[in-house]
Amino acid sequence: MADPKMINLTIEGRAVSVPAGTSILEAAKTAGVLIPHYCYHPGLPVAGVCRMCLVEVEKAPKLAPSCATAVADGQVVHVHSPKALEARKGVLEMLLINHPLDCPICDQAGECELQDYTYQEGRAEGRLREGKRFNPVEDFGGDVMYVANRCILCTRCVRFMDDVAQDAALNVSERGDRALIGKFEGKDLTHPWAGNVIDLCPVGALLSKDSLNKVRAWEVDRTASVCPGCSQGCNMIVETRDNLVVRLRPRANEEVNHFFMCDQGRLDYRWMNRQDRVEYPMVRRGDALAVTEWEGAVAEAAALLKGKRAFVLASPGLPNEALFLLSRLVKKTGGAGAFRVRQGDEAPLPGVNDLARRADLAPNGRGAELFGLARANAPLAGLQAGDVLVVADEELAGLDAPDVARAGAIVVIGTTLPAWARHAATVVLPITNVVEEEGTFTNLRGRVQRFRQARSGPGFSRPSWAVAADLLAALGESANYLLASEVFDALAAAHSEFAGMSYEALGLKGALVAGAGTGAVA
């Protein structure tokens, strides 16, 4: 495709050059000017109903809605001219006529666009003396609750359900000042991606029932991460308060998930805060596991592995870094490695190309395959008698007992200590989970994406890659890594698919492994 024609215009005195067909609002973003807006969202069709994005365009007869006006050559746009400010102040006053102004009890306070723009450009005091309209709170099904009084009728939620989820469930009911968002007869927000309307809502009208009244927007720490729920690898923001994960939200990435995240991924965060974690390295002393220190536990695990084959049963939820080091452990001992992937139902989001909750309910199956681990339904089939079974963040439950019995000894590298490990494990090495360490996942399309540490791990647990590196070092390999990025550099040097990648280069959007275009998993 030929390069689109570039249009040159001036916004707030700044020269801007954007492709033809761009809206003034998007063009202003490239110049670092945010034009206030409610109904416009880059992931949704343009509606032009809120009139909040009115700007003054020189030589135009009246103010233009910048979300619905395409740029033209030589345009001169004023965003903060007195005329534009006066118009937007009027719009805000109208929007606030029936708004209850209950910010102190509203969950959106602190991340509310109505609040932000009213403080920026609105009136200090309202002039309305009449009473306000009142509508009761409505349950929209799924995780969504609708507070009609706060709604400004931007119709983002309606357009998301119609055009992106393509499961028309919402509409604008009634007319005029009685208008509110309603559900179609017999419909509920039960679509697997319906929870996105909560993030799309610019005000506190659509709220998550799960996080209702739990947390204030200004109390949380936000960390860029990747959803570990399935092999799609949606980018997400982990919100923590007091070292506990309280909410997961989508993070925009045009290449993977655009602006969206499925409900299952969004609500599946409680396991990240599990309190029944294994906190100390442990070794078997007679019938029981005894707490010990790291050096002793690693030395004991290395002594078990010396001269034996290591059979690694790895979780596809481990980062590339840990899987790479475990594959080196396999190579070093001449053993084998396998993993299995839990299966779920595929749930696509029709309005976005190649976005679905995938059937593979693990984030890094592709990475595990790249490092030579074998994907299998019965992963222990290759376990030979006398092998040392290294169970890395995986369950033995559900596997054949005779298979397990062939193992000479079991080394558990895990976040928790399940019942089987309590009597079967010889050495237990505690690791941190996905929100407690940093690393990378390779999604099903071969996109390597970084996730960052959002909370601290419990007790003496250490990152999975650090434990694997210690084990390698104890076996005489050179594996002296202090940072996850150093492991990744070693990984990029050893595997041609990752050649040339580094943490800095991956950034927030990730990068594709070499040959990803041809080797895509169906």
Binding site: C103, P104, I105, A109, V137, R216, E219
Partner: protein, 165 residues
């Protein structure tokens, strides 16, 4: 070698203590005859407090006896001493209210920011200074205790002179 000290030869009128003693006794006798009382007979007698006095907190209540607090979370955010603990929840009517609201009066620096920031005019500092407890834990006031306080509340500014001029 001895140090040479200069000895001043002053007249007796200057060096005699008799005159000074008599002067002091005269002052004492004067106060004995027309006494000036400066001691406040605390606790029978108390000095009036400024309307802007900032003492231990009090939570105001609505007419039906519930705390006015809606657990918006502004006071723990603004508190420079980090002495307010707040856990929001929902009551039977679905209204937002504080499940836990505790103020550690020992950590508090009585700046009055919590009262100033409160959108519901619920938490107030008190015009009150008599606090004593048998344990440090006694100074962690929970919601019930904050609501049970009856002392007058602080006015953050003098109504007659709101700008402090």
């Amino acid at each position: 070698m001895a140090i040479g000290v200069k000895v001043l030869d002053r007249p007796v009128a200057q060096t005699s203590y008799i005159r000074a003693t008599l002067k002091g006794m005269a002052l004492t006798a004067k106060h004995l005859l027309s006494p000036q009382k400066v001691t406040t007979q605390y606790p029978e007698q108390k000095k009036p407090l400024s309307p802007r006095w900032r003492g231990t907190h009090r939570m105001l209540t609505t007419e039906d006896g519930k705390a006015k607090c809606v657990a918006c979370g502004l006071c723990p955010s603004i508190c420079p001493a980090n002495c307010i603990k707040l856990v929001p929840g929902e009551d039977e009517q679905g209204n937002r209210y504080p499940l836990v609201f505790e103020i550690d009066e020992f950590r508090c620096i009585f700046c009055g920011y919590c009262q100033e920031v409160c959108p519901e005019e619920a938490i107030h500092l008190g015009r009150h200074y008599e606090n004593s407890e048998y344990s440090r834990q006694g100074f962690v006031y929970d919601l019930e205790r904050l609501m049970a306080q009856t002392h007058p509340v602080c006015e953050l500014w003098d109504p007659a002179d709101p700008k402090g001029e």
